[in-house]
Amino acid sequence: MNIRYAFVSAIAILLGAVLMFLPEKQLKIEKNPVDLLLAINDESRWISTDELAHSIVEKDPYFLLIDVRSEDEYQTFSLPGSLHIPLDSIQSPNYLPYLQQEGLRKIFYSNTSAKATQAWVLSKRRNLSNIYVLEGGVNRWVETILNPVKPASTAPQEEFDLYSFRVAASQYFGNSAEETVESEAPKKPMIQVSRKKKAAQGGC
C-alpha cells in the first residue's frame, strides 16, 4: 500500500520538477518583453492634435478614436465619433474586435497622454498593430484646436498657416467644448468584425 503511494508521489514530484525546469512559454498573443520595450521607446506612436483634426475634417474613414477615460469624463466631453473603452476594460475580449481591425488606425486618448499610453502599452503587449496615442490628449486638443492662440506678429509664416488651420478647425468643431458634445458625429461607430476564434464562455 505505502509503496504504491510512494511510487505515485514520486511520479507527481517528477512531473512537477519537469514543469519547473521547462522554459517559460509565452502565450502566442503576447509580445515578448524585449520587443515591447523597444516599441515603447519608439516615438512613432504619437499623433498630434493637428494631424487628428486634419483626419477628422477630411473625413478620413480609416481611423478609430478610442476614449480610455472614465464614463463620466466621456459623457462630459469627448472627441467627435470616438468609441468609449475605459482603461480597466481595454483587455476585455468584448472590445477585441474593435482593436483587431488591421486597416484602421486606432488612436487612444485621455485627458493627457498618460492613460492613453497605458492603454497603448497594454494593447501592444497583445500584439495589436496600427495603434497610436493622441499626444497631449483632450487638454491639448482644447488648447490647440478648440481655443487656438494667435501667434506673435514676429512669428514665422508657418505658425500663421497653422493658426489659420486651427481657427478653421475650431469653427468646424463648433468652437466650444459644450457644443462639441452635441455634434452630429456618430458616438459609437459600430463595426462588426467576425472572428472565428472566441474564448470559451465560462461560469459555473
Binding site: L15, G16, M20, K198, A200, Q201, G202
Partner: protein, 196 residues
C-alpha cells in the same frame, strides 16, 4: 490544436453532446468517490474522512499538469481557455458564504446533483435551496451589482499575483498537495471513526 469547440473544429450542437458526455463522467466519478454522501463530505472538516481533499486536490493537480504540458506541446491554445476573472472582494465574500453553506448543508452544487440522482432526499432539498438562493440574489441584484463588479483584477493568474514563475508554482502546489495527503492520513488514523 485544442480547444476544439471554440475554434469551430467541433461545431454547434456537438458542444451540448460533449457537455452531456462530460457530465456523465463527472457524475459517475463523483458518485464512485463517495461524494453522494453528505456525512462523508463533511468528514474533511472533522478529520474523520478526507475524501474531499484527496479527490479535489488530485483532480485540480491532474488537470493543471495536463494543461501545462498540453500548452507546452502546443496541443491546446491556453489563450482560448476560459479563465474565470478575479473580482477579489466578491470572490472572497462568495467563498465565505459558500463555505458556511457547505458546513450547514453538507453538499456543494455538483455533489448535491449527484447525490439527488441516487435518491438522497436531503440533496434534493439542498438543490431547492440553491434555487431559492439564486432567486433571492437575482431579486436583490441591484443592491449587490456594484459590489460584485468591484476590485476587478481581470483574468489574472495566481503565479502572477504571487510573483512566481508558472513552473515553480506548479511544483509548489504539487508538493503542498502531497504533504497534505500524507498529513491527513496521519490525522485520519488518530481521529475517532464516525459511522455513517
Amino acid at each position: 490544436m485544442g480547444p476544439l469547440v471554440t475554434q469551430d473544429i467541433i461545431g454547434g450542437n456537438w458542444n451540448f453532446v460533449l457537455a452531456f458526455i462530460l457530465g456523465l463522467f463527472f457524475g459517475g466519478v463523483l458518485e464512485q468517490a463517495g461524494f453522494s454522501s453528505s456525512r462523508k463530505l463533511a468528514g474533511v472538516f472533522y478529520g474523520y474522512d478526507f475524501v474531499v481533499l484527496r479527490v479535489f486536490f488530485t483532480a485540480a493537480i491532474t488537470a493543471m499538469v495536463g494543461l501545462l504540458f498540453f500548452h507546452y506541446f502546443e496541443w491546446i491554445d491556453l489563450s482560448l481557455v476560459y479563465v474565470n476573472p478575479t473580482f477579489w472582494p466578491s470572490a472572497l465574500t462568495g467563498g465565505a458564504i459558500m463555505g458556511l453553506g457547505f458546513i450547514v448543508g453538507g453538499f456543494c452544487p455538483g455533489t448535491s446533483v449527484c447525490a439527488a440522482s441516487i435518491g438522497k432526499i436531503d440533496a434534493m432539498v439542498f438543490l431547492v435551496g440553491i434555487f431559492i438562493g439564486i432567486s433571492l440574489f437575482g431579486f436583490t441584484y441591484d443592491w449587490w451589482v456594484d459590489f460584485v463588479f468591484a476590485g476587478d483584477l481581470g483574468r489574472i493568474k495566481v503565479y502572477d499575483s504571487l510573483g512566481m514563475r508558472q513552473g515553480s508554482f506548479a511544483f509548489m502546489l504539487i508538493a503542498v498537495a502531497l504533504i497534505a495527503f500524507y498529513a491527513t492520513r496521519w490525522i485520519e488514523k488518530r481521529v475517532k471513526k464516525v459511522e455513517y
